[in-house]
């Protein structure tokens, strides 16, 4: 194979999700060309890879991914086009939640995230360690551009710092409020903003709950006065309607990823949208 004569000035990066794409772009600025391998409007776990995405993955100098078992399709794609030159697994950058899935449990239920919950980008504070790792990875590829990356990251974090207190203040009145989530997507978000997720409706995504489980859940929701169910776009509408009628709780659809909702256009807007919707659903301004 012939090596290209001129090394491209920009770094070609493949990110597995739109959230990571935005964070890479925030650090890399115009020195990187980054694309997301998945469409946030589709199920991230059950991805069917397209030829064009394989080509992107092959071109990439750096692969940035969520890690753990968030991208089961990735192993197949990598087997097809060969391992990327540099591989950045960001699950090592953050403190993971939900890691104590008991092994060998007799009553074990199938759990999508056996090594810890993978939705860690939904804690905005995690953007700090994540962008730090991205900065290191990019600077290792283009040492000369390190000052540019550092300046970009500082600018992004300044923006985050400006908004974070506002988000917290908006959700502060609801600290400790008990909510129910449809899927196990929101523990990081809930921890950051002081919500208590006390149960999930679909323990295994895609498998409807059993009547006994649903009955017990509704009873507990009534007793505990749970008013809000956190849902994602594409959550089972009939089930949510049923839950709403029986337990008197309202479903609020939050955006789990940049682009999963038309309003969530970038990483910081994602939190603007979610914080605003949640505050309204909980009865705030």
């Amino acid at each position: 194979m012939l090596l290209p004569l001129v090394v491209a000035a920009t770094i070609s990066v493949a990110a597995t999700t739109t959230d990571l794409r935005d964070l890479v772009a925030a650090v890399g600025g115009d020195r990187v060309r980054v694309e997301s391998l998945t469409d946030p409007r589709q199920d991230p776990h059950a991805r069917e890879i397209h030829p064009r995405q394989l080509a992107r993955l092959r071109e990439a100098e750096l692969l940035v991914r969520i890690g753990l078992d968030h991208e089961p399709w990735l192993a197949r794609a990598v087997r097809t086009v060969g391992p990327p030159a540099h591989d950045l697994d960001l699950s090592r950058a953050v403190r993971l939640l939900g890691t104590e899935t008991p092994r060998l449990r007799a009553d074990a239920r199938p759990h999508v995230h056996a090594f810890g919950n993978t939705h860690y980008w939904l804690d905005p504070e995690n953007a700090r360690p994540i962008t730090a790792r991205i900065l290191e990875a990019l600077a290792a590829l283009r040492p000369a551009d390190r000052p540019v990356f550092e300046a970009n990251r500082a600018r992004f974090l300044a923006e985050l710092d400006a908004r974070l207190p506002r988000w917290r203040a908006r959700l502060a009145p609801f600290r400790g409020t008990r909510v129910v989530a449809v899927h196990d997507t929101w523990p990081y978000f809930a921890e950051r903003f002081g919500l208590r997720i006390v149960a999930t409706v679909e323990e295994t995504p895609g498998v409807p709950p059993s009547p006994a489980y649903l009955g017990a859940l509704i009873e507990r929701m009534r007793q505990a006065g749970v008013r809000v169910v956190l849902a994602e776009p594409g959550a089972p509408a009939a089930l949510l309607r049923r839950l709403g009628e029986a337990a008197g709780a309202r479903a609020v659809t939050l955006a789990p990823s940049v682009g999963s909702d038309p309003e969530a256009t970038d990483y910081l807007t994602l939190f603007e949208v979610n914080v605003a919707r949640l505050a309204r659903a909980l009865g705030g301004p």
Binding site: R103, L104, P208, S210, P211, G215, G234, R242
Partner: protein, 440 residues
Amino acid sequence: MSLGLELLGPPFLACLVLTGIHAYLGLHVLARGVIFVDLALAQVAALGMATALLAGYAPHHDATYYYALAFTAAGAAVFALTRERRGAVPQEAIIGIVYAVTAALAVLVLDRVPQGGEHIKQLLVGSILSVTVDDVGRIAGLYTLIGLVHWLGRRPLLALSLGGEVRGAALWDFAFYFTFGLVVTSSVRVAGVLLVFSYLIVPAVVGAWLADTIGRRLAIGWTVGTLVSVAGLGASYALDLPTGATIVAVFGAGLVLVAGALGVARLGARVRREGARALARVGAAAGALACLAGVALAAFPQADHWWLDAVEQLAPAVQLAFLTPYERGVVADSRAALVRAQAELARLRALQADVEWGRREMDPAMQERLRQFLVSRDEIAAGDRLVLRTLKGRARERQRWALGLPLAAAGAGGALLAWRAARRPARAAARPAPAGARAR
């Protein structure tokens, strides 16, 4: 806990409505030999829904339903036109092609639709638990209308399904497939593809096994559908399982039960006719299975031998006999510890849940201690399970020769004897018969 049962009210009504129309349509489908037509039409309807989503309608918008309906009508036309009475290509071939192509098209369309995969998954699994009384009322009204149409056109429709000739056959065929598609499309929205298929085929099959006339088959089908609905919903509640899949599984179990009973009845009749010799084949099969189980145990002692697990569950001595006295003591200790641990874990998990839901107060430090205690207690219980598994493995190493080989030998011997017993008198009876025939 009564709330869980309360939740099963609307699903039970939905099941009754499904039984009513599907057991009847199933008779047609079975008679026509177009078993998979409902899967194909459901897939065509799903493609219609997917197209509606692509056009920007929400999954529960009316327009989505009409898209599905229009696609179903097109599918019905295809099936009515491609019915060859004496052709080389059976109708099932066309149905299979329609299924595969529309399923692939749905994948292509949904790839461009937000949450496309989710929608199609929900469509396939269905949400029988989430139906409301309104949903049930709507399909009940529609199905009553369709039932009326079928009652008015019962002569040509039945004649066509049973292979007769009718004037305007293509038109009646279209009427059949279109009403059928209407039912399937509406039912799938409520109950999912698998459940709809089961309600369609299983009652009809049982009816065909047990009776000859349409009326009796229908009565049997309705009975079977109702019984299975009750049993399936009950099992889903009692065993804490997803409702739709449980009902389908109960349909399967019911079919096996009926088939087993029919088999036993037939065997009983043969035994009365031919004496114990009729049992020889069953004995040969049982012997062969026993031989196979023995060989498998001897060859792969550490593999999963479910039959042996079940035997040991019923008679623990089968395992304990292969352990040393010391190992037996360890097994007893671990079992006792596991029982204690399970009770304690259940109690503490309930406490944890109560705290989580705010029914009981506990300060945060204590909550953290409880969480850590639960995790470590879980790990200890996992250790006990590991001990039991290791000792089971040791017992299996010893059972391998002492149990596996004799079982294999006994099974093989028994199978051989039974097989010979099954053949010898048959041959003895067959030989003089031609001679007798010649003499006559």
